[in-house]
């Protein structure tokens, strides 16, 4: 089996930089419009909020929320890349060997995700997390909140920061460990790296199970500080996982259409399609399980979460979320033929990536931006910046090793994969 080295043309790299540049311009435009008061992309939310006597959210808050949203989204996708490789190792899977390097390279975004998350939390923590305000814990202050004060053992600045550092440290450690083994296997061959990778993967899966769930509470759930859901770890994981699978599938297709990954055929795409299809349904299952129990019990402190998301401002996103992330992939990817066709997979995975961005939007914005949220220049701009950076780092990672793991013991099995 021969090596396959990816070479990213200068033109493609320029496109990534262009994406970032357009993002920056849109972002600056959005900030100027918003700082100048209202603005075209602001919508009616501003007026309503002002009429209701609330203080309108500042542009810095909106900027920090967007940074946080995109960083959590892309960090999750990146983490799923490592998770997917680990699952394949532990399952002794043979079919995925040819596409393994794609998901492996996704992990290269993790250090950047760490840096951005740390900075945004340190500078914009008060804008994102209500619980970071000291007065909530001061019993003499009139804004004292006994419920949040009761959570201070877990939700406090230092413990939150330590958790964030530990999660990222572990993830980056395991990513580098797996990656190093994988590359050494290319150079030296033999099965020892494979067996070692299985052990590393098994350890990582345990770490991942705990840390991804806790990260979901910390980074997403704690935004709605009073509210809690025991399904939330799963919910965020499901959203990350299906987005990550979509990125893997989409990248494999784009590489294939550009003449790389020659040994990947419709059978591998079929399996990836099945993954995307199945985990879209899995996400829906978790979504519904969370929704129905809260809707049925109708306890005020729980149902407030969905009432916030079903008010005029977010209703369309609430239902669009279900349409894009469940109905669309469910109906389009149902047949065998659709899962084996690149064009179908491309349409669905791009839709899912947009859909799950909206899903994270819906998890974060109602609790912070309230009626002032919108999808305008700031949102699109920030997303484009993150997308450009992610693509730069991800494709750089892809070029660092052969796209075909030449000495993987199951390579032959993957080449002859047939479903």
């Amino acid at each position: 089996m021969t090596e396959e080295r990816l070479i990213i043309p200068r033109k493609t790299i320029n496109k990534f930089f262009l994406t970032i540049a357009v993002g920056v311009i849109l972002l600056i435009l959005g900030i100027i419009l918003m700082a100048a008061g209202g603005g075209a992309d602001h919508g009616e939310g501003h007026g309503e909020a002002a009429a209701a006597g609330h203080e309108a959210a500042s542009w810095t808050k909106r900027l920090f929320m967007n940074l946080w949203l995109n960083n959590v989204y892309f960090t999750g996708i990146s983490l799923i890349g490592v998770f997917f490789v680990a699952v394949q190792y532990v399952a002794y899977a043979g079919w995925s060997v040819l596409i393994k390097r794609v998901s492996e390279a996704m992990g290269y975004y993790l250090p950047i995700g760490f840096g951005v998350m740390l900075l945004v939390f340190l500078f914009g923590g008060h804008d994102i997390f209500h619980w970071t305000h000291d007065y909530l814990y001061d019993i003499n202050d009139e804004r004292y909140d006994p419920i949040i004060a009761g959570k201070s053992g877990y939700l406090n600045f230092w413990f939150f920061l330590i958790r964030m550092i530990i999660f990222f440290a572990l993830w980056i450690l395991f990513f580098n460990w797996l990656r190093r083994n994988s590359i050494n296997e290319d150079l030296q061959g033999g099965t020892s790296f494979y067996h070692k990778s299985i052990r590393i993967s098994a350890m990582f899966l345990v770490v991942f199970g705990v840390s991804s769930s806790m990260a979901a509470w910390d980074w997403v759930l704690s935004i709605d500080t009073h509210w809690f859901s025991t399904m939330f770890g799963w919910y965020v994981f499901a959203s990350w996982f299906v987005s990550g699978l979509s990125v893997i599938t989409l990248t494999v297709i784009i590489l294939k259409q550009n003449g790389y990954l020659k040994l990947v055929n419709a059978n591998h795409l079929h399996d990836l399609g099945k993954f995307v299809f199945a985990f879209s349904i899995f996400w829906t299952y978790i979504w519904f399980s969370q929704f129905m129990l809260i809707w049925y019990a109708n306890i005020p402190e729980e149902s407030i979460y969905f009432l916030d998301r079903l008010d005029d401002h977010y209703t369309w996103i609430f239902f669009t979320n279900l349409l894009i992330n469940f109905v669309f992939p469910f109906l389009v990817l149902m047949t065998r033929d659709a899962k084996r066709q690149m064009i179908m997979l491309k349409i669905v995975t791009i839709a899912i990536l947009i859909g799950h961005w909206l899903d994270f939007y819906l998890m974060m914005m109602p609790g912070t931006m309230r009626g002032d949220a919108g999808i305008g220049f700031i949102e699109i701009g920030t997303t484009l910046i993150f997308l450009g950076v992610f693509l730069l780092v991800f494709t750089k990672g892809l070029t660092k090793a052969s796209l075909v793991p030449v000495n993987h013991p199951f390579l032959e099995e993957s080449v002859h994969h047939h479903v």
């Binding site: 519904f288 129905m292 049925y296």
Partner: protein, 188 residues
């Protein structure tokens, strides 16, 4: 039962058919043989194998099953039936207030709808499969060669009395790697 006795029994009945059986002991040789035999214009009745062989459907020219279409419509029936049943029962026939919810409370109907969709799709598919493949308790199966359940692959070709050139067929099978070529008459 001694072989000659069963042969005598078969000869007593007019409705019998004669098959030529090519016995193979290698999966890859078999797949190539199937392609060559079909390319030579010989119609293969069926191939028997101890385990599923990847790619055998394609070389035999077997079209993909249409069972998934049945599954989809059975599932669709399950969805519609479940929704209609719950909406009619709780919304029109015997409206009750449960948990302060509206009579037609769609979210509460989803679990039952989901279960009935799965149930109807699964049962519909299994029952259709039984009917299409004529699987029933009284089914009699002609075992062409018992070794097809152990370590050999058996390619069965139906003989048209007087039309099929037996020697040519024998040569064709052997030249494509058959380790044995047998003849067998079975009750159709």
């Amino acid at each position: 039962m001694a072989p000659h006795l069963s042969l005598t029994l078969i000869h007593l009945i007019a409705m019998n058919k004669k098959f030529v059986l090519g016995i193979y002991d290698d999966e890859d040789v078999l797949l190539e043989a199937i392609e060559n035999v079909r390319a030579a214009g010989t119609k293969i009745y069926d191939v028997f194998s101890p385990y599923p062989v990847h790619g055998i459907d394609d070389v035999l020219g077997i079209k993909r099953s249409r069972l998934p279409i049945i599954a989809f419509f059975c599932g669709l029936f399950g969805t519609s039936f479940a929704l209609w049943m719950q909406i009619w029962m709780l919304g029109f026939d015997w409206p009750m207030i449960i948990g302060g919810k509206p009579h037609i409370a769609i979210p509460a109907f989803i679990p039952v709808t989901f279960e009935l969709t799965v149930l109807c799709a699964a049962f519909g598919m299994v029952i259709t499969f039984f009917i299409v493949s004529k699987l029933k308790p009284s089914l009699k199966v002609n075992v062409f060669d018992k070794r097809a359940t152990d370590d050999k692959f058996v390619m069965a070709i139906e003989v048209n009395e007087g039309v099929t050139d037996m020697n040519a067929l024998n040569d064709l099978l052997r030249s494509n790697g058959a380790i044995e070529v047998n003849e067998k008459e079975v009750i159709k």
